[in-house]
Structure formats: C-alpha cells, structure tokens
Symmetry: C2
Subunit: 370 residues, 2 copies
DNA sequence: TTGAAAGCGCTACCAT
DNA sequence: ATGGTAGCGCTTTCAA
C-alpha cells in the first residue's frame, strides 16, 4: 500500500517520481543516476517536503550519527565549557549530541553507578561514541571501558599502573598549581595559602604536589596550617578561608600590612572557591590584591566576573574536550573503515595562567623576581 | 542464519533459550509469559549481556525516546539552567536529551535559520519533541511551529495578535523589572538607572515598561539619561555604566553622598551586566551598596559570586524549562494515546526577587517605605 | 542506469 | 501462552 497518508517516505517519492525506491535512495545520497531521474526525484522530494527518517537510516547503516557526552554537573562551569566544545565538534561533523549529566545523582556512588550505566548503554545503538568526564576512574570503570560497545574517550586520568583501557585527555593540575604559585611568589608573595577542594581526590593530590614543588623551588617551606579543604562552592570557600585566617596561619589576619606571619596570597583549586575567598577577605577588610593576592583554577567566566577580576589557571577544559571529541570521531572513522584496532592514545593539555587584577603585585615594592 | 557473531539480538536469545523471538520480546517487555519461559529468556539475556537495540525499537514503535532542547548559547547561565531542568525531567521519564546549541552561529540571522532547521529536523524521527528557546519568535518561526512534525514547547513569548502556534512558557520581564525597582525605591533609592541589554528586543521593551511603571507608582519621573544599553557581557556592562555616569545623569558620580543629581541605584537586565556595573562602581571609588545599589536579573550563580553578592530578579528560567519539559511530555503522551489535538497552552512564570547585599539600604536612614 | 528484494532488530498481530 | 510473520523506512546487493 502506498501513501495512504503520514509523512512521506522513499516509497511516496518513488511513486510520485515514477521510479523505484532504490533510485530514490541513490539520488538522495548522491550516488549518481541519469540527470532526468535526479530531476524527478528531487522535484518530488521537494514538493513533499521530504525529510529522511534518520532512525531507519541508523538501523540500516549501524551508525546513529549521535555522540554522547557525559559530565557530572552542569553547575560546574568547566563542564559547561566541555559540553560546548564537544557540541561544536559534533555539529561540525554532522553529529547530534546527546547530553547525559548525572548531577541528579546525589552522591558519588550513585554518580559512578550512573556512569557505568552509560557505558553499558553504549550497546543500545543510539550513540556512535562517548566522551566521558568521570568523577573518578574506578576499577569498575576500567573494566567497563575495556568492554565498551563503542569508542570512548575519557576526560581525566587513569589509575597508575593499569594499561589505559580507552583514549584519554587529561589536564595537569600539578603543573597548574605550580604555575600559579610560581607567579604569586615571583610577584613578592611569601605566605601562600592553598584552598583545595574536598580532601582525598586524585587531582587534589596533584595540585598539592604542584603547590609544594613551586614553594620548594623558591626555598619556601610549606606550612600545613596554610592548607585547607572545602567543597567547591562560593559559600564553602568563604567559610574555609575565614577558618584558615582565624587559625595560627592567619597572623592576626587583620591588616596584612607587611607583618611576617600573615597570609599574603591564596591559591584556590577552583574559581568558585577563589570567589568565596575574596568574599572572606573583603569581609575582613583585607584588600585584594594589596594585602592578599588570590588566584583560582579553571579560568571560567566567573573569573572575569569576580571583584577584582580573578587571576586563574586555565586547565584547558574546552581544549581537552575539543581534542577528546576529535579523537572520538577518529575512532568512529576507524571503525567504519574496518581498520585494525590501534592502541589507546593519551594526550595531556598543559595549563596556562590568566593573570588578572586579583594577583597584581602588592603596593609595596615587589619582592625580587628570583 | 543465526548468531554468527556480533552483539546479541532477540534472535540470539531466542535460539539460546529455545523459544521464539516473539516470546523473547514479550518477556523483555513484561508482557507476561509462563514463569518457565520468563526464567529461560532472562537467563539467556543475562548470560549474553544483552542490551536491546534502541534504534530498532524506535523504528518499530515510531517513538525515539529522545527529547531535543535547543538554546542559543551555553555561555548564558540562564540557558544552562534551562538545559539542566529539561535534562532532569527527560531523565526522570526515561528520555535521552539531545542538546542543540546554536552558539556557533555568529549572528542572529544565522541563529534563526538554525532554529528553523531544527524545527524541520523534527521530521527525521530522532526526537519525540522539542523545547525551543528562540532568540526571537519571527513570523517564519510561527509558520514552522504550526507545521512541526513533533510537539514543540517554546520558552518565550509569541508575537502579539497571532494565534499561538505551539505551547509556550514565558517569563515576565516587566513584572521582574518592576519588582526590582520597587525594592530599590522602597529601600530609599531615588535615582535608579537602568542598564538594559541590546536595544530593540521584545523583552527589553517589557523590562523598560516595568521599570517606568515602578518609578511612576512612586511618583518618580523617569529620566532618559538614566537608561543605557549594552551587550550582555561583564565588560560591556562596565563600559556602559562608566559612560552613563560620565553623562549628565552621573551628577559628578564621584562621592554619591546624598547630593540630588547622582545615580543611587542601577538595575541591570542581566547578572553579567550587573557584575560589570559593580566593577565600574568599584573602579570609581563608589561603594556598593552604600553609595549605589545594584540589582541584576536572572539570579544565576554569578549573582552569589559577585562582590558584594548581587540582588537579582529570578525570572524563573529553571522553573520555566521544567514546566516546558513536562508540557512536552504531556503532548507526547497525548499523541501516543491518539487523543484529539487540544489547543496550545500557555503558561507564565512569575518573577521572584532574591535580595542580597548589593542592594542593602544605604547607611543613611532609609527613605520612608511607602 | 535501474528495479526487485533482502534485511538492519525489534514489536505486534494473528493464529494456534 | 506461544510461534510465525509482517513491517517500521531505509540502503544495498544482485540482476537485468
């Protein structure tokens, strides 16, 4: 039965153009036909406002032309940057983007379970590949990645010592922290506090390492009293910095004018924390950057929005995501071409420091730039 | 031919369980079968790690279980809030979310063309419905909406005088602006400037109307010199406010201490503008809120991040998107049920004022709360 | 160059 | 309760 109604299909067009469905398909896919045939088919398609059914195409071709991106939380500006970047690449290559965000999953355990579900779901045919930004790569992740039905590129690092189960693009938080602390010390700061994210994470350890390395390189001794942890929110950052300044490291924390014991700079693991830190400083009557310099990490739009505008380490979120998306498409192409599976690739994006007003040298003559 | 290799299908399972594919399908969809059959099918499926092919399901059922959300620009925190809200609803109902963002389209004309493409694309079967947040609803939009192949809910208002071609959920910028100005005046401000977004937009006209209405209600005369326009970025906000304060309305703009001519409050059409405005004020040595109060619109995470934290009108972006997604799913259900097409529904979400430090009453005794 | 027909994986109908 | 089978819309052999 033909064209009872409903949206037009190849069959509708075929009837109207007086050709076979095969010819319609060929013309529509530019596979060549007699000019006359082309004309008639195109005419019929245009008149009917034909739109090919992408689902049928997917079923037939085994490719969905959809890419999936899974991130934890769109409240994180870094994740937004990643999604934007992946979207741009997908779009440029004619792929739709399926967004999976797990931020409804309250706790980490749920988020991990959710990520594993996404990985298994890759077998359902709706996606040709996945860019995954996991909370933390667990052994279960590694296993699931090995057996994934479609190519996956991970935004993050794999646990040490395991054969990478998938392509990955990581940042370098250690180098990032080091970059920032170097800058702070070079501009004359000596008591650099470190406001980190929640304790016990792998990136946290890296950042801490970079922080200590940069201090050590300048002959400064890390002071445990200068390190604090907080959830990555403005509020938590404010509270944590108050606590830190109220502690032994604060050096009174009131005027900050040249006395030896006071904190004169704060590196924060995230722009939201850094904004929170500036709030605490403002509230205590400390001037930023005159009394205390502040630097964040992420270089999100928040950094420019802060007062004063925030010096921040760009860890390359957008760039990483762009690279990941391109790696993924390369894998998809590989699969389409039937090429033999090549080993996992890994890339690292180097950090870059965006210096803004929050870390200008103090009013007093700056320290010698060693 | 059966199970040469490749991922397991209903056929693979059927063979393994010694039943027909029809039985496999029934069991897998919970359509009832003899306990023994259920057991054997489920066992085979589990052993094979079977994942149903969602594409084949879509083709067969005519429903993709995907929803599309199209927004202009993920750099806009309001759009991020919308996407999050739609995602949450979609997810809760077992739908995947396809994200279409047009922010690669540089100019408005391209963005509009892109939106029309999305609307046409609804016929390709990959989406059961669309939540569309258009830059501006053009007559072409109206036409495309009327003939859309799938239900669409628009986040925004339709042009006056036309029969709404689709469901819509709008905000109320006029009421929002009015709310904010009321609050500013009530807390003693008299010279309230208005830093609007780009000139010539429909929401801009609404906001302006609300601004004037609130002033009029208090017997204050709107002063054209107090109104300026800027692109919605922090930078542009800063420049625009400087310009405004340098103009006749600035009243010298230096001390702001009680003289009659000076601006003592600024309402901004967007939180980014508002942040930019605070930067300009800080730079001029004016205190916020002591000398000049500032209020933004959108109540994005930026508002809490600002210094001082920003009073902002929540226009209900997340709430609107949530309602839109639910309306959309209701339409989808309607279609599935074969119910007769009901007329377009329209909802409006009322604004809500989030008062923060940027608009605290001035240090001097506040004006009488009329 | 073109048409007939198989088949992608699934569900639903109709018999049994 | 179960099995055979048609068919969703498309692309792609295979013949002609």
């Amino acid at each position: 039965m033909v064209s009872t109604s409903g949206p037009p299909t190849v069959e509708t067009i075929a009837t109207r153009a007086g050709v076979s469905t095969a010819s319609v398909s060929r013309v529509l896919n530019g596979h060549g036909a007699r000019p006359e045939t082309v004309r008639r088919v195109e005419r019929a398609a245009a008149e009917l406002g034909y739109v090919p059914n992408a689902v049928a195409r997917s079923l037939q071709g085994g490719r969905s032309r959809q890419l999936t991106v899974a991130v934890r939380d769109l409240r994180d500006p870094g994740h937004v940057a990643m999604v934007r970047a992946v979207q741009a690449v997908a779009r440029a290559h004619g792929y739709r983007l399926v967004l999976h965000s797990t931020d409804t999953a309250a706790d980490t355990a749920h988020a991990v379970a959710d990520e594993l579900d996404v990985l298994r779901g890759l077998a359902d045919g709706t996606s040709d590949g996945l860019v995954l930004c996991p909370v933390h790569v667990t052994p279960e992740h590694v296993e699931a990645l090995r057996t994934a039905a479609q190519p996956v590129v991970v935004l993050g690092a794999f646990p040490d010592g395991v054969e990478p189960p998938a392509d990955g693009v990581r940042d370098d938080p250690a180098a990032g922290a080091e970059l920032a602390v170097r800058h702070l010390v070079r501009t004359g700061r000596r008591r650099v506090a470190f406001l980190d994210g929640p304790a016990g994470t792998a990136p946290g350890r890296d950042r801490h390492r970079g922080y200590r390395a940069a201090l050590a390189a300048r002959g400064l001794t890390p002071d445990p009293a200068l390190v604090a942890h907080a959830d990555t929110t403005v509020e938590a950052g404010t509270r944590a910095l108050h606590r830190l300044l109220d502690g032994p490291a604060g050096g009174g924390g009131r005027t900050g004018e040249g006395h030896g014991g006071g904190v004169d700079a704060v590196l924060c693991a995230d722009d939201r924390l850094a904004l929170g830190a500036t709030h605490a400083l403002h509230a205590r009557g400390l001037r930023v950057p005159a009394d205390v310099a502040v630097a964040g990490m992420g270089d999100s739009p928040l950094a420019e929005a802060g007062w004063p505008p925030l010096t921040s380490v760009d860890l390359g979120a957008a760039e990483r995501a762009r690279i990941a998306a391109e790696m993924l498409l390369a894998r998809v192409a590989e699969r389409d071409a039937g090429t033999a599976r090549t080993p996992a690739r890994t890339a690292t994006v180097a950090p870059r420091l965006a210096v803004r007003a929050s870390s200008a040298p103090p009013a007093r003559p700056p320290g010698v730039a060693t």
